[in-house]
């Protein structure tokens, strides 16, 4: 199995292309009758879908993964855990799911990048949806602990304040 396209994408941090590359490769390998399930990078494949917010495809991929792989590879289960929290809209749970697992070096890059992206999206959501919000909830949604939320991000807090005044 030729993973060069996948490795190139990972090396150049083009994480948004990972899902397509993995899907195409999986179909190709499958049509050649190769038994690929044991060696397939399911964790990266799942995270590829999660990165582009395609939780539907992540769900279907999870359903396709054989039980044996789910039992033997805790990283795959942990990757799906993030997807599950996103699916059930457990906003704070996503951060917990990212933090509580010790990610392997291949996967750390994409997880860290996704974590940043998700925090940014959550921040934009909070700014557009809330006129006032408690520091505790802000901390939960942005994956910070309560003190951090109160102290950090002063510049972004001020931009937030300005948008509030404009409303």
């Amino acid at each position: 199995m030729d993973f060069s396209a996948l490795n190139d994408a990972l090396a150049s941090k083009s994480y948004d292309q990972i899902a397509d590359i993995c899907d195409t490769l999986m179909l190709q390998v499958s049509s050649q009758g190769v038994v690929f399930q044991d060696e397939w990078p399911y964790a990266i494949h799942l995270l590829g879908h999660i990165y582009i917010s395609d939780i539907n495809s992540a769900r279907f991929l999870w359903k396709r993964i054989p039980l044996a792989v789910k039992e033997r590879q805790p990283e795959v289960v942990a990757a799906w855990n993030i997807g599950q929290k996103l699916w059930t809209r457990d906003y704070a749970g996503v951060h917990e799911a990212i933090r509580e697992f010790n990610w392997s070096p291949e996967v750390q890059g994409i997880v860290a990048s996704f974590s940043e992206l998700y925090t940014k999206k959550m921040f934009e959501l909070l700014v557009s949806a809330y006129s006032t919000i408690s520091t505790q909830d802000t901390a939960l949604f942005l994956g910070l602990n309560a003190d951090d939320a109160a102290n950090c991000n002063l510049s972004s807090f001020f931009t937030w304040l300005i948008t509030f005044v404009q409303i």
Binding site: L27, S30, S31, N56, F60, R64, L125, S128, A129, Y130
Partner: protein
């Protein structure tokens, strides 16, 4: 007539010699058609010939021999090999050559799909089937018999995203009605899986309103899903059919979908407890139709509808009041629902957590941005293209002998203008 060594060699030589230009290929086609009987009787001995042919250059000849080889029943062990060899042929064959004999190609691909299903590994067939239908099509506007088979494999293999890619093409040519029904039905299911409810509604609508002289099972199942998707996406369902629906469908479809129409009535009361009770009572019926998942989505969409309805009456509302009106358990749950709806763009509002209030806002879209202008422009282009196509079809149809025959029969023999007025007096 036995296939002796001489005729085998001549056959191979002819295929190799006549696979160059288009006229050669047509000549070869005529020859091959004459040898149909031979192929049928000697199917078991033809396999070795394939090794002497190159599937990319001698596609037509290869196709005929492959079709004959695959017509015989094979064991499960051989199935895997067959799947591999047909898959290889599909990848390498020349599209121009196989389009000369589309029936043979379709026959090979259908057998390929049957073997893949027997092996219980539908994913193996997805990529080859996609390549096959792209080579068979004259243009992306043509629906081939392979389209529904491809979508079925995508559904079974849970490769919904791959299936979605061909659903974006507009179809203008359909060969067989059955293909169209299946294509739209499976396509609708794929869109439902990817939560593209608008496109799903369009496809299911096409099945329900398509011309049919006899009711078919596909239309019945599609109607059931159509009702459910309509509730999820639009929050309502109109049981009256558009004028262009066939009379067969209009008279009969509702008889087969009674529980679903009752679900619509229950939904329209706006009371979540009633709806849940109804679903509970009819659980088995929905489950046997394999629609239980969709029905559950209908139930959860009701909270959204009820909250949306509130925006039409109130400018601000407390989270407590929302929770009570919509029958949620707590203000916090109501806050989460509203937040999710804001995230999905289904509502425009801001939450004031300090006071526990929600303020409903107007749609901020002012239709002034570049993206909006591009969207409108592309819609206009699309409609102009559609209009041109419709004009062309109208012109073609007005020259069609069948149409003229029927239209001529229904008209009077002479129009009033055919009679000249005869002057009663000549003035000199």
């Amino acid at each position: 007539m036995n296939l002796n060594m001489n005729s085998v060699e001549t056959l191979v030589a002819q295929i190799q010699g006549l696979s160059g230009s288009t006229s050669d290929v047509n000549h070869l086609h005529t020859l091959l058609k004459q040898l149909e009987e031979l192929f049928k009787s000697e199917s078991s001995r033809l396999a070795p010939l394939l090794t002497e042919l190159d599937p990319s250059i001698h596609s037509l000849g290869y196709l005929y021999i492959l079709e004959a080889c695959t017509s015989a029943p094979i064991s499960k062990e051989q199935a895997s090999e067959l799947v591999l060899s047909v898959g290889r042929f599909i990848n390498l064959c020349s599209a121009e050559q196989i389009r000369v004999a589309p029936d043979k190609f379709i026959s090979v691909c259908k057998r390929f799909k049957d073997q893949v299903m027997l092996l219980e590994d539908p994913m193996r067939g997805v990529a080859p089937m996609l390549t096959a239908l792209q080579k068979l099509q004259y243009s992306s506007e043509q629906l081939t018999t392979l389209h529904p088979d491809f979508l079925l494999l995508c559904l079974l293999a849970k490769c919904y995203k791959t299936g979605l890619s061909i659903l974006e093409d507009d179809i203008f040519e359909v060969d067989q009605p059955r293909d169209f029904f299946l294509y739209c039905y499976y396509g609708g299911m794929i869109c439902i899986g990817q939560k593209k409810f608008s496109k799903a509604l369009e496809l299911l609508h096409s099945v329900v309103t398509a011309p049919m002289s006899v009711l078919n099972a596909i239309a019945i199942e599609a109607y059931k899903k159509y009702i459910l998707v309509s509730l999820i996406h639009l929050g309502q369902f109109s049981s009256s059919f558009p004028k262009y629906t066939s009379s067969v469908a209009q008279r009969n479809l509702k008889n087969f979908s009674q529980p679903y129409l009752e679900l619509v009535n229950s939904y329209c009361t706006g009371k979540i407890s009633e709806l849940e009770a109804f679903v509970q009572a009819n659980n088995e019926k929905f489950e046997s139709d394999k629609n239980l998942g969709l029905v559950k989505q209908v139930v959860s969409s009701m909270y959204k509808r009820n909250i949306q309805r509130l925006t039409q009456t109130y400018l601000t509302l407390s989270l407590e009041d929302i929770a009570n009106t919509v029958q949620l358990n707590s203000a916090k749950e109501a806050e989460m629902h509203v937040l999710q709806m804001i995230q999905d763009g289904e509502i425009y509002a801001t939450i004031n957590q300090k006071d526990g209030m929600v303020r409903f806002l107007e749609d901020p879209e002012q239709y002034k941005t570049c993206e909006m202008i591009e969207l409108i422009d592309s819609s206009i282009q699309r409609i102009m293209m559609l209009s041109r196509k419709l004009t062309d079809m109208d012109e073609q149809l007005s020259c069609d002998p069948l149409y003229l025959g029927k239209a001529g029969r229904d008209r009077q023999r002479f129009d009033f203008d055919d009679f000249d007025t005869v002057p009663s007096k000549f003035t000199v």
